[in-house]
Structure formats: structure tokens, C-alpha cells
Subunit: 131 residues, 3 copies
Amino acid sequence: MIRRNLSTPSRECMVALDALIQEIIATSGVKEGICTIFVPHTTAALTINENADPDVQRDILSHLRTIIPKRGDFHHSEGNSDAHIKSILVGPSLSLIISEGKAHLGTWQSVFLCEFDGPRTREVWFQIVPC
Amino acid sequence: MIRRNLSTPSRECMVALDALIQEIIATSGVKEGICTIFVPHTTAALTINENADPDVQRDILSHLRTIIPKRGDFHHSEGNSDAHIKSILVGPSLSLIISEGKAHLGTWQSVFLCEFDGPRTREVWFQIVPC
Amino acid sequence: MIRRNLSTPSRECMVALDALIQEIIATSGVKEGICTIFVPHTTAALTINENADPDVQRDILSHLRTIIPKRGDFHHSEGNSDAHIKSILVGPSLSLIISEGKAHLGTWQSVFLCEFDGPRTREVWFQIVPC
């Protein structure tokens, strides 16, 4: 298991992890397998989507705020129930396919840490399983 | 593949699986790898989130009911389309990282079976893959 | 890593992958393990749900359109921000449990490619990890 820290710059943002992931896989020497990525937090999540037009990230975060507003009918006293709910819907874990020594992604795909209650220092964990 | 049954006490609830998962991993003897968890149902799901303040679970289930109400414009005759839709958004499968002989979770994280159409007896399946 | 192409017949639809998955696992000869499935696109996703009553699929796609309408307050110029957001919530990757030489699914479950911006030719990628 490999751990890395990263900083998120604002309450809600998407931070691309591609370079970090490819470096971890290259260092492992694994050529074929999977890379499981895990975020050990309850108000952040992992996803994969477009990293070409920044308006895609803007539209994603904006629409999530529309359907899960910060001020809802919430009881949790910390005032961040919206971030917990978004994290559940986006999800805490992903598995990527490793082939020819790197994580294979589609042409338009990047892997993102989704921050929903930052800015903070976050951890991301990685496990590489050969096959 | 390991199978376990558990009972869910109400139509919508979140049942923590942490003790069960750690027991299964300890019994397997695997020290490093991943544990894939799978729910073989179409109106239940798996997630990871906070298990400290019970109001977080209350807010999650309550807000999911707001955006996916039980009485919607649905055609499925069983009357549980809301539970199918919630299950798709939360997801049927998770992979946890095993290190030092146990599933590693963040300080505030628990793994939950999310019941959206209970009470029922549900199955949860586990596969442990060493690396 | 195994790649397959498939065609999606309309803008939004769910295409069952079960027969394809079982054929790929049978060909691999793996008896116990996991099968990680990955969609290398940013406007399509993977899920598991009921494949008995077609009204379940209709209700899922219809309700997703209600909470994520095609014409929203979106900036992305391609006009398919709804498809990006749906893909993030449903998710790009799944891991199935292989046991006794096949992917184990619940009685009512099928694995689906969810198309949110078709019709198109799509790729689906598979990695089989024995244990």
C-alpha cells in the first residue's frame, strides 16, 4: 500500500491524479494488473472524467450543488452534510487497468480527487495488484 | 468467494460491515492485497462514509428520498423504482485495500450496506485478492 | 487487458454485457478472482441492476433526466454536460467476483453499459485478476 498527500485549494474542486498514478505504477514495475485507488475521507471522492475543457468540471460541481445544496434539511451539526452525500454518490474507490506498465485511460479521461469540503490536506491510497 | 447473510431492520438503513470484513480478512491470512465486496441485489448498495454521528446517515437517506422520491413518474409495477435508482447511484461493489493483514479505512470511515427496500435478508459477497 | 467494441442504439440506453463478460472469463480459464471492467469514455458508465422488467431501465434513465436535465445552467459548449454528470454519478469502473470459472451475479442482476450521449461505438475494457 502506497500513500500520498495532496492539498486541495478550495471548498469544491477536482484535482487530477494522472501523473501521480503513472509514477506510482512505473515505480512498482508491474506491467499487467489493476491499480485500486482509495480516498480515506468522508467528504471527498474519486472519479474519472474529462480534463480538456475546464467548463466540464465547473458544470459538474455546479450541478451537484443544485441537487445537493449546502443548506438543506440537514441535522448533522458540522454543516457539511452536502459534502458527505456528494462523496457517497461519486464514490470513495476506483480500480484502473494496468497494461504495458501504465494505467490505461481513454483519450479524454483523467482521474480526479473530488474535494467537497476543502481546502484541506487529503490522503490518497494505492494498491497495485499484478495479474 | 465468501458469502455472508445479514438482516436489515427497516425499508431504508445503513448497516456497518467493518467487523465482518476484518474477520474475513483475518481468517484469510492475506497481509497485502485488496478485498472486493459485492452486493448481489438490485435495491441495495455498498458505500463508505462516517459512522460517528448518526445524523450523517439520517441526512444521507433523507436527502436521497428528496431527490429520488418513492412516488415518482415510474412505470415499474413493483413500486420500488426509487430503490433501484438509489442503488445505481450508490453502487453495487467496492474494493478496499488490505495492508498489514487488515482493511485500511480512514479515521471516520465505515463500510455500509445501504438498504433501500427492506426489511430483508441480504447477501454480501467477498473476494480477497493478494498481491 | 481485453478490449471489446459495442454499438449503442440511442442517446440514452443500457446495454447488457453479461454474455460478453462470461465469454471473456471462460476464455481466460481463471476459476477464482475478480474481473475489473472499465469504460474509457466520459459520457458513458457501468452499472449493475435488474434486467427482467424493461420498465426498470426506463425509470432509471427517465429519473436521471429529471434530476440532471439536458438543458441546465451549463457552460460546456458541446451541450452534453448532462451526460458527463450522469457518468460520474453512475461510475466508470466495476469489479465482479469470479468463482467456479464465472462472474457471480445475483438472480436479478445484469451488468450494463449506460450510454448517456449516443448513439456511438463504445469500447469496454476488461482485466482478469486471479487469486
